[in-house]
Amino acid sequence: MLAPEQLADATGSGALAAAPAPRFRVSPAGVLIPTVSVAASLGLWELISRTNTISQHDLPAMSTSFSALWTLVQTGAFWTAFARTVRGWALGLAIATALAVPIGIVLGSFDLAGRAFRVPIEFLRPIPSAVLIPVLFLTLGTNLKSEVFLATFGAFWPLLVQTMYGVRDVDPLALDTGRSFGLSALERLTRITLPSCVPYIATGVRISSTVSLILAFTAELFMGIPGLGQKVNFASSFGQTDQVFAYAIAVGFLGLAIHLLFSALERRALRWHPSQRRGTS
């Protein structure tokens, strides 16, 4: 699915180079300008639609779309669908993490294992997960299992690759020191390898959290599995354009919330890392 951003870092300065920095500091202008910008674009949307620059049939006015959303959020059906999408996303991300991190540690620690699976991984990773939809129709069927499988499959690859890079980046001196102090392999894993990998895994989790949501939603939209995606599909089939827009707005906010949450988690994991590095070298 999405190629991990960190791997694409052509500057060669390691997998941590592209860690997201907060893009603006809080200051009066830092609050005011974005607010004005959002208000202006919402106003522009209203204007384009009300003046029929784009027909209201195609582009429901901003106020129409948001009032449709307001009506929807007062229904239980909306929140059931919302909860189902979140469930698919969470299960996908959790299962992907539970699989990718241990496998990544094994493939990253043992050179031969890494080489043995290099070609299959390089081949499977860039495959768009969406091609599995027809296969899932035939095998698991239109249910939660398909949704979770798809989300897991997509979220697995960025996490796997990040973990492998993290393990390979562990300071060999620290490992040797641990060994000469008589730490067992298990202790070296839990006290040296895992803590050093945490920032890489955090980056992987951030990327995968987005991927998992996209694929959970895709499964619902394309396969008719209950959730927000299915609602969009119904609304678009029945030509309820205002609802199509309302659901898109809602999904956008869900995506934004997940992105902001996991970016914050990643920053926390990263803050710890450089100080640790400076201490050891």
Binding site: A10, V131, I214
Partner: protein, 259 residues
């Protein structure tokens, strides 16, 4: 050590081969029409895509990928440079950029069709370009922001005109990261192509995938899956080669700089 390296190489070749053999053996024994034999799939692949449907389906998909990717790259750099250089512009754009990049792309499939009145190239290319924009835009923005201010100030005090500053200083400094963004965008373009064609279209490999599934032609369906996988893989390989050429100066410079 050399024995170990030889073992590594042998494993690297052997494991994929074993996986393929296992697939063939399993499908030959399973006798289920949903999973045709690998050999059957390959025959179907040759029959369908070498080159009967190459012109009618593979070429249109590639056109859409490259057109969308091209538009996204140009727009991403053109927007990313001013956004990286001006804090005010960045503050103005950030809410929009953050919202749209977090939007799951399929949510906009129905909207793109409604707004553009099209399920043809216009809608496909617009959809691909829109979502491929963000990796290039965000990477350009961050790279331009990260340029050493001393360099910019020096250029300014030597009265280098602004367009020369952008062309000779800003763009080359940002290039490695722009290219990193482009690589993500290209991978995304393949995904967006499949999604948009699978949702609604009348040609393309995503359309073939949908049609073969709906008509229970499982050999061609698997052939389409393999084709899309190959497409994603090969485009990535080609891009890495391109990157290697374009950034040759950058690697030489890095190698010469003591770390």
């Amino acid at each position: 050590m050399t024995r170990r390296r030889a073992l590594g190489l042998a494993l690297e070749i052997l494991v994929p081969v074993l996986i393929l053999i296992a697939w063939q053996l399993w499908t030959a024994h399973a006798h289920t029409f949903k999973f045709p034999r690998l050999s059957t799939i390959l025959v179907d692949f040759r029959h369908e895509y070498l080159f009967a449907k190459f012109g009618s389906d593979v070429i249109p998909s590639l056109e859409r990928i490259f057109a969308g990717f091209g538009i996204a790259t140009v727009a991403g750099v053109a927007l990313g440079v001013p956004l990286g250089m001006s804090t005010t512009l960045r503050r103005f754009a950030i809410p929009h950029v953050e919202y749209w990049r977090a939007m799951p792309p399929p949510a906009l499939l129905p909207i793109s069709i409604i707004l553009l009145h099209s399920i043809q190239n216009r809608q496909k290319i617009a959809f691909i370009a829109f979502f491929c924009l963000f990796p290039v835009l965000l990477n350009t923005m961050d790279a331009v922001r990260a340029i050493d201010p001393t360099l910019i100030d020096t250029a300014r005090s030597y009265r280098v005109p602004w367009h020369q500053r952008i062309l000779r200083l800003v763009l080359p400094s940002a290039l490695p990261q722009i290219i990193a963004g482009m690589r993500n965008s290209l991978a995304l373009a393949v995904i967006m192509m499949v999604l948009s064609e699978y949702w609604s279209s009348s040609s393309g490999v995503g359309y073939q995938l949908l049609i073969s599934k709906n008509t229970f032609q499982f050999g061609p369906m698997w052939a389409a899956i393999i084709l899309i996988g190959l497409l994603g893989y090969l485009l990535n390989v080609l891009f890495v080669l391109f990157e290697h050429r374009v950034l040759a100066w950058h690697r030489g410079w890095r190698a010469a700089t003591p770390q």
